[in-house]
Point group: C2
Chain length 432, copies 2
């Protein structure tokens, strides 16, 4: 079955995935007026993943950090969006096989990003929380609040603690920012909501296998971050592995197999590519990334490309590929649009070169760390820079305003307004 897609005389570029890379590529290609652009995604919205943790902790609503894909491309010509799950690529027939039928392409771009990699914990992953999608963020919000409601119902202190405790595995940006936001909830929000509970009984644990959190940033940033987290009451275990989780509340960690009890177990310790079937196994590298040349062309395929987190451009300077962050995806998308134009005109292609503008993370109000290529700073000013960069990057005027308003509200009231259990979350029904 072929789903109805308007005919065009222009060569068709099919893009799988409407993340930062896919959206940018579609925008750049539409501008050239030389292609019919067909964008596929399983959702009808683009997710601004860097702020998911604020949805999970009640600071923002989901509608503020997600944006209608159709809206982004209103009134654009030669653009088609279809909501579709891609099953595999038929590289011989130049077709993408999806749940809505087969879609042919002249050029195909895989921009499917990553999903959580649970490593050895795959078997029990449905009992854990993760934070890659809007439904996952809403589930986490509901789950934590439901546990607090349940903690009220017991007078057994061990049970109470276990219901309130939260373990986060992975001290990267997601783990750190989530730990900070939860620390603020514990300090400012939950005591007002639950005067009957003793918040001293609640612990937030952050586990990181490396010797420091934010190991991709500078040492000064890591140190400051650990200080900030401790100020918010987060217990940090660096150079420490989590060895086991029983799917309920028993967490085993460290060389001596020590045990803590925590109902909420959040996994942020790694990602793997969202692979699409049909490609030669040789091009699939560690972490399900797809090997490309310096033009993002997948090795061995003349008209198939990969950009962003799923792509691994293995070069001298990048033996393990580029960092899996939004700026790489956006820059690769911009260049690929140019290279597709050049290809059409049989002009030489340009090799990708990443311009690293720095990285940052926030722990809480007035607490952030910023590493620029030549300058590193932390504290209140870093926090304002973090706010400004994230606001500017948000898609859409309405979302920017909504987020500003909520941030102002959160700042002055010390409150997090979005703590409603609108769809209760029960383990084992994780799929949305």
């Amino acid at each position: 079955m072929k789903p109805y897609i308007p005919e065009s005389k222009l060569p068709r570029v099919v893009i799988i995935g409407a993340g930062f890379g896919g959206i940018q590529l579609a925008k750049s290609l539409i501008k050239t007026k030389q292609f019919q652009v067909v964008l596929l995604d399983k959702h009808n919205y683009h997710t601004f993943q860097p702020l998911l943790y604020q949805v999970a902790t009640g600071g923002l609503e989901p509608d503020s950090i997600a944006y209608s894909i159709r809206q982004i491309f209103h009134k654009k010509k030669n653009f088609i969006f279809r909501m579709a799950d891609v099953e595999r690529i038929d590289t011989n027939e130049n077709e993408v096989i999806t749940n809505i039928g087969e879609i042919t392409y002249e050029h195909l771009v895989v921009a499917t990003g990553t999903q959580t990699n649970f490593f050895g914990f795959d078997g029990i992953s449905s009992q854990m929380m993760s934070l890659k999608t809007v439904p996952e963020a809403l589930n986490m919000r509901s789950f934590i609040l439901q546990n607090f409601e349940n903690a009220l119902l017991t007078d057994n202190n061990d049970k109470k603690s276990a219901l309130m405790n939260i373990v986060i595995v992975g001290g990267g940006p997601t783990g750190v920012e989530l730990a900070g936001a939860l620390g603020e909830m514990k300090k400012y929000v939950l005591p007002n909501d639950y005067p009957e509970l003793d918040l001293e009984q609640m612990q937030i644990y952050l586990f990181e296998r490396q010797p420091r959190v934010l190991s991709n940033m500078s040492e000064v940033a890591s140190k400051k971050t650990e200080k900030y987290l401790k100020e918010l009451g987060v217990q940090i275990f660096t150079s420490t592995s989590v060895n086991d989780f029983d799917g309920k509340n028993k967490v085993v960690y460290g060389d001596n197999n020590e045990v803590i009890k925590a109902d909420t177990f959040v996994w942020t310790a790694g990602v793997k590519g969202n692979l699409v079937g049909g490609l030669d196994e040789k091009v699939i590298l560690r972490g399900n990334r797809i090997q490309t040349d310096s033009h993002n062309q997948i090795l061995g395929y003349d008209n198939i490309y990969a950009i962003g987190d799923i792509a691994a451009m293995i070069e001298k300077d990048t033996p393990r590929g580029h960092p899996q962050v939004a700026p790489v995806a956006i820059q690769q998308a911009e260049l690929l649009a140019k290279n597709l134009m050049a290809k059409g005109k049989k002009q030489p292609l340009k090799a990708f070169k990443y311009t690293d503008k720095g990285s940052m993370a926030t722990v809480g109000r007035n607490r952030a760390v910023v590493d620029l290529p030549n300058f590193k700073f932390q504290g209140v000013f870093a926090w304002f820079v973090w706010l400004a960069v994230h606001l500017i990057s948000l898609v859409g005027f309405r979302n920017k305003i909504a987020v500003i308003m909520d941030w102002i509200y959160n700042y002055f009231t010390y409150d997090r307004a979005m703590r409603l259990i609108i769809r209760p979350y029960h383990r084992k029904s994780k799929d949305d």
Copy 2:
């Protein structure tokens, strides 16, 4: 099992339901400092039902019209909230049996409100949409948008139409306001999102068995409303019954059993009380309402009361009880608080007398109808009055601001920003 609830020397009032009546009663009782107030609800939030249709049509986010119950009662003494499903009342033991255990009471107030009454369509109700809760509103939003995505995939015009068409049964305020909001979506929003679809193929049908819509309002209000709806392209069938719905898209209506095709079938044609078991059957009246005396005391029970939509105070002036609207619930709650005080002091009780401040409904931008006791008006001014009254009634500063911002955005852009399919809705999995 008894869930942990702090002891108190004050007599305990248990309130079931945190709607307009339950919240008001709790507030009034707390002020007296003479009672321990235990409020039960199956959700941890209060829903502002009058604006649910705007959540369903993408104009507002759910977090703006729902409000944390704990937040409403921050720092209040002698107040306890528990999230609980009430199963029945044990009137002999003065206990409420819930999913979290038994809770004893000195006084009990049933303020459980209503749910959708599907009448003869009960068997197929899981295939219909309704609009009494936030999850239902979100399901409707997702379902309509999913149907539009699917309409893109077929070139069969009948299928396309059926996917886009919407049937609303019931021309009361909910049906009218929903029809108007959908008419605006059809006119302003959907053409931009779906340039590939011919919106002429989409029909919105509104069915009402009475000879006019809004039959509880004045004739001039009904007439103006029907005119407004027609301007927005809504097809109105008054004095017409819907006879059958096949659970997919076949709708049979009228004396001649005519057929239309519509995947989205919305039922807003009636409500019935959310009954709690354990009461004498004699006090349960038509529509599952509970008969009370003029003090909201349930007939035959000395210390059990019912207020709001579930209560039927059958008197000379109100042979079928009061209208099931928020002002009745709020006024009954205020009086019941006073009467409970009076009862404690063995003072005489005051009989309830409803002060009707009028009613109103909106159809769309600049289009509303208002009936005051001595004055009726329609149009732009009525619309502003409608906006102001609803804003003032919303609970919480943050929600007021968020709603104002979204309304301003919607007004100037003609857009509805919240059209994300965040949790896809599939029939037969309606329960959240």
